[in-house]
Symmetry: C2
Subunit: 441 residues, 2 copies
Amino acid sequence: MTITFELVDKILNTSYEDIPESVRIHAKKSLFNWLGVTIGAINHPSIQMMIDMVEELESAPQVTVLGRKAKVDMLSAVLINGASSHVFDYDDTHLDTILHPSGPVAPIVFALGEKFGFSTKDLIRAFILGCEVELRISNAVYPSHYRLGYHSSSSVGVFGAATAASILLNLDREKVAMALGLAGTQSFGLREMFGTMAKPFHPGKASQNGLMAALLVQKGFTSSTQVLEAKCGFLNVMSPTYDVNKVLIDWGNEWEFEKNAFKPYACGIVLHPSIDACIQLSKLGKMEDVKEIFLRVNPYVLELTGKETPTTGLEGKFSIYHTGAIAFLEGDASENEYNDELVNAERTVAFRSKINPIPDKDIRKDKVEATLELVNGEKHRVYIEHATGSIENPMTQAMIIKKFTKLTKNILSPQQMEEVIRLTMNLDELNSIHPVLQVLE
Amino acid sequence: MTITFELVDKILNTSYEDIPESVRIHAKKSLFNWLGVTIGAINHPSIQMMIDMVEELESAPQVTVLGRKAKVDMLSAVLINGASSHVFDYDDTHLDTILHPSGPVAPIVFALGEKFGFSTKDLIRAFILGCEVELRISNAVYPSHYRLGYHSSSSVGVFGAATAASILLNLDREKVAMALGLAGTQSFGLREMFGTMAKPFHPGKASQNGLMAALLVQKGFTSSTQVLEAKCGFLNVMSPTYDVNKVLIDWGNEWEFEKNAFKPYACGIVLHPSIDACIQLSKLGKMEDVKEIFLRVNPYVLELTGKETPTTGLEGKFSIYHTGAIAFLEGDASENEYNDELVNAERTVAFRSKINPIPDKDIRKDKVEATLELVNGEKHRVYIEHATGSIENPMTQAMIIKKFTKLTKNILSPQQMEEVIRLTMNLDELNSIHPVLQVLE
């Protein structure tokens, strides 16, 4: 049997009841966290541009643009909602492979859930299995695929989207394999786009590609049923090296999805230890007394976030200089600290020249060794072992709720917020996703 | 200046008048040939499935599905029309790099031409430059990119689609670079899909991705402006080796687009010499007298078309065994010879076991040395230097018209055919594409 079919069998043979309760609880948290970041960015200019485009297409009002009055057709909805969830770079992250699992999958759960009224148990199962498939494929190709230059949140994410859509559309074994094939051949996403609107576009488009694949296969469309392992298939073509065993190993016992972490800060996870460190250092010296701050980090951190002179909020997220500066100066790195104005403020620009990252391959990429040198010669050292939001030091339920509240405060009323929190935290007890969407209307 | 911007400047500085007349004539032929293959397949089940999907999305009637009464939104139209043009594998081919240039580009010309009423000179210019950009990028990455496993008609085609759309939407320099970026990051298409409906899906989807990129950038969306040359850009990520100089070399003097050939046979161009040879051999011996036919071909031919036991018409196109058999038995390899019934007919199956391809790296891939061995020991040898439809032995105008007629005979009335032929052959004299579309209604 081929790997692709083995995977399909694992998917189809995993019922809601087969999924451990801890995983299901994590799914509810993930969907809630995803909803917050999605609604939070829904009025962002880049999302407005996507809505403008969809309006030009005279799209039919089928499915909700989350946090808006607008409805658009299913395929456009997953594009927009998926993109919105990644605008702030504030969505969930599989720390082992730096993939944002919910981005391509959750939009499908919401869109098909709204259109067809599926039970929330069906939705949660599709969501979990979609993410699990993504993450296992991600494990198989990491780090080779990512290092080559692919943004795996879309290039691998498309498999998660197709999986979730296939489950909900109730495709049979052969068709699920074909949906994975038709999705996999649409795998895409270049890391060169980081720092532009094209980056958040990626998970939305992956969601759209995966849903389109499942919809077409449902209508009889064919594709290869061995997209993963074939000579000209995904693994061989798009990853210089890979370990195909990681796709299936310990299925049902080990849940990659549980390694999905939530972000306390609105930038790439690799910067989070440095943010924790700079916030701690800010308590040990005043701004005007700082001579230098040294951040000893894994070289990889600098590769991703080495922008020395960012000029926009988006670029600021890829700058350890800006990020270190605002963490020290503002004591946070939420979306507020990544606006264009603050990136260009004299005070920020002046301070960021004091941030000195030092690449050191002996420092693991989820750690940082930070040193504060004051003008008077005093030195303070901080060592972050587990950043806030890591698996070892996760965000608490209260922190996640606070994050949701902060993100949606200009979009939802306090009553709406409260209702959404209550409903999504108990999603498995609802008959469908409709009550959540009614609150958002 | 970056390569991407240099390319953008070349594009924007090439006016309709700058394009040699021979190239413009070739464009009219290409569009006509494309229209024939597109209308010809528009009732194919795979296209019906795509239309069914689009209907489920309640798409708005903006743009014509060519050869149908239906209209759908712009983005869906280019998907469907682009896919239809490749269903029969009968569209145009850049022989040097085995890329089908019109597939992703022509749908945009028709869709935006219909929606916005652009002049046919603007449309022809956009079409030519879109194809030219594709083919130059294809030259830069060939054969490495294709060999790795990418179907360049989509993976490179997406740049052609974005170019044509950017020109028609009148994007400025910066925005054209960004449209190329947003298109390039959506580059996709695995060769594993060959022999399934996913293959013709590729050029349609590339067209959709390219048009979406241009539409979004028009609304203000940003992306990288150095998608070609960046470290994590298209060339480095998707092609193990490449020659970036080929993108710009001799721009305006050498037109790659003129090396675009039309197919007399409804299968991959690599099989055409073998088809010519088998048709010639069929005049030198009767079916029942044939012992063996040996086809000495480049190993590459067999790599692409080595399916020994095809069971569908689509698979037959990837089988030198089936193709050799029908060329000998039926004297042609048009769409009629690639239906499921004929592929499985006893007579075909029996004869295809007599077809013996011999890989020989000393035979160039556009040639074949064919030997017919009769039961009585007689031997006949045929050597095809330039297959029908090659640059050296091109299809005549009359052959192209005959091809159009044969393809559309069940869809268009004789009057419609005649009118479409007359109008598209003189496309540059029309004010817009509307008269062509009115005939098709």
